[in-house]
């Protein structure tokens, strides 16, 4: 991504064109971030729109243009969490009764009752999206920001207002929980076949 600092500075000064340019360059990233968090296209569109409206209203209060990326993800994370809370989503009520109670949704996705059947890339993608929604919110946020958005651990710690060690710990337990979900669905690395 090109250096966006001049654009951010112009937007902070109140230049609408600069803000629209920033939104154009960040819209797809933020949409995919919210989509992976919520796993629903329409809800992700709505939350992305809310994120940019909040950014539009508050951009002139941003003190440090260098923090724009972290600042935008703070707004997006808070919007996602608020949306989940308002929608009454509780994906993980307990470690034993929550996501581990979900069994074999891959059958619905793949349309097959053969667990040994190799999963194509698209099906695997859908399963992984579903599995991501079943791990705790805070762990999912860390995984999404680190693995998909390319934020560094200090940046994630800044976004979530937590220590770096807490962030790393959440990532570890999040990945572990994800492995458990996939194991419960009998999805092993051998079952995954990529169409590339």
């Amino acid at each position: 991504m090109t250096d966006e600092r001049p654009l951010v500075e112009s937007a902070i000064r109140g230049e609408l064109y600069a803000f629209n340019q920033l939104m154009k360059s960040w819209h797809k990233r933020i949409f995919n971030f919210t989509y992976r968090y919520l796993n629903d296209y329409d809800e992700a569109s709505e939350v992305t729109q809310q994120t940019f409206i909040k950014a539009y209203q508050a951009i002139r209060t941003l003190k440090d243009p260098g923090r724009f990326r972290a600042w935008l993800y703070i707004i997006a994370s808070n919007s996602c969490r608020a949306h989940s809370r308002n929608a009454g989503r509780h994906p993980t009520e307990s470690i034993s009764g929550g996501y581990l109670a979900e069994t074999e949704p891959w059958q619905k996705v793949a349309g097959s009752d053969n667990p040994e059947r190799a999963l194509a890339g698209r099906e695997w993608g859908e399963l992984l999206r579903k599995a991501l929604t079943l791990i705790p919110d805070e762990q999912r946020l860390v995984i999404l920001m680190k693995e998909f958005e390319g934020l560094t651990f200090p940046e994630i710690a800044d976004v979530l207002s937590e220590s770096e060690n807490t962030v790393k710990s959440r990532m570890y337990y999040g990945l572990k929980a994800l492995r458990k979900v996939l194991a419960k669905w009998n999805i092993t690395k051998e079952a995954i076949h990529y169409e590339e």
Binding site: M23, K24, R36, I59, R60, I143, S169, L175
Partner: protein, 296 residues
């Protein structure tokens, strides 16, 4: 290996943050413990698979057409602006507003409040004529008319901005009334002297003069009483309005504080829920390692 590496260390290794000696010693630990190495390898593969998850096509981004809100507008949308006005400023503003309202209302309705031995009376409309004896001189009539117009001008045109100015004007009014009394008395005396000198233009008896003086004194007293009565009522209303404003201010502060406390409780709930889930996972991990220990 006796101690399992911490989750933070494992993630640092997986994400390539360990360097040099630290990395070598960690890899040595992994070599000594194949089952942890296997678990780590599985996590590494999962991370690799995560990276293969493609982006989806996003809907077209919206375009903002309205100018970006100014900083002061952003600040205005935030709550609690009242908190930044001191109580003194609020009280002064309330007093000024009350005075202005009273003066405007009084001048529009031509309200006259009088207090005497028979009680308090409120009258509206133009000021009535003061009854004077039939043989009253034209000069005295003119003087009285000038006095009334001066009083009305003072009431209507010079709206006091604050109590200090108002009282200064009242004192000025009193001085001018005294001056007028003095002038009327001097005119009466002059007439008496003229009568004695045998060049009378119009004659006034002692009783008539006394009557005129008494009427003037009554009028003066009434005017002064009215002014003080009005000032007292204004003060009372200001006090009531200040108290009402203060009660409203307290209500607002209470509502904002309640909102803040509720938000804090909600945030605390959320954090404790997260910690609870994390603790549960840690316990789960510990239980797993305890269960697998005898097999080794």
């Amino acid at each position: 290996m006796k101690n399992k590496p911490s989750p933070e260390l494992l993630i640092s290794y997986l994400c390539g943050e360990l360097q040099g000696e630290e990395k070598k010693s960690f890899e040595a630990l992994l070599t000594a413990s194949p089952e942890w190495a296997a678990g780590l390898e599985e996590t590494r593969q999962l991370l690799g698979n995560l990276h293969r998850l493609p982006d989806v096509e996003a809907p077209p981004p919206p375009v903002f057409l309205e100018p970006l809100p100014a900083q002061e507008e952003v600040a205005r949308t935030r709550p609690v602006p009242v908190r930044y006005l001191s109580r003194f400023t609020q009280a002064v503003l309330a007093v000024a507003a009350s005075l202005t309202m009273l003066l405007v209302a009084g001048s529009l309705t031509r309200t006259r409040v009088t207090a005497d031995g028979n009680g308090l009376a409120v009258r509206f409309g133009p000021v009535g004529e003061v009854s004077v004896p039939d043989n009253h001189s034209e000069e005295i009539r003119n003087t009285l008319a000038a006095l009334r117009s001066e009083m009305q001008a003072l009431k209507a045109e010079k709206a006091p901005d604050h109590s200090g100015q108002f009282y200064r004007e009242l004192a000025g009014l009193k001085v001018s009334l005294n001056e007028l009394n003095r002038r009327v008395a001097a005119q009466a005396k002059e007439k008496e002297v003229q009568t004695v000198a045998g060049r009378p233009r119009r004659q006034l008896s002692d009783a008539q003069m006394k009557q005129i003086m008494a009427a003037l004194s009554d009028e003066n007293l009434r005017l002064i009483e009215n002014a003080f009565q009005a000032a007292s009522e204004q003060q009372q209303r200001q006090l009531q309005e200040s108290l009402t404003n203060f009660a409203r201010y307290l209500d607002q502060i209470r509502a904002e504080d309640t909102e803040l406390v509720l938000a804090s409780i909600e945030e605390m709930d959320r954090k404790s829920e997260v910690k609870f889930r994390e603790t549960e996972q840690v316990i789960d991990a510990l239980l797993e390692s305890v269960q697998t220990a005898p097999q080794r």
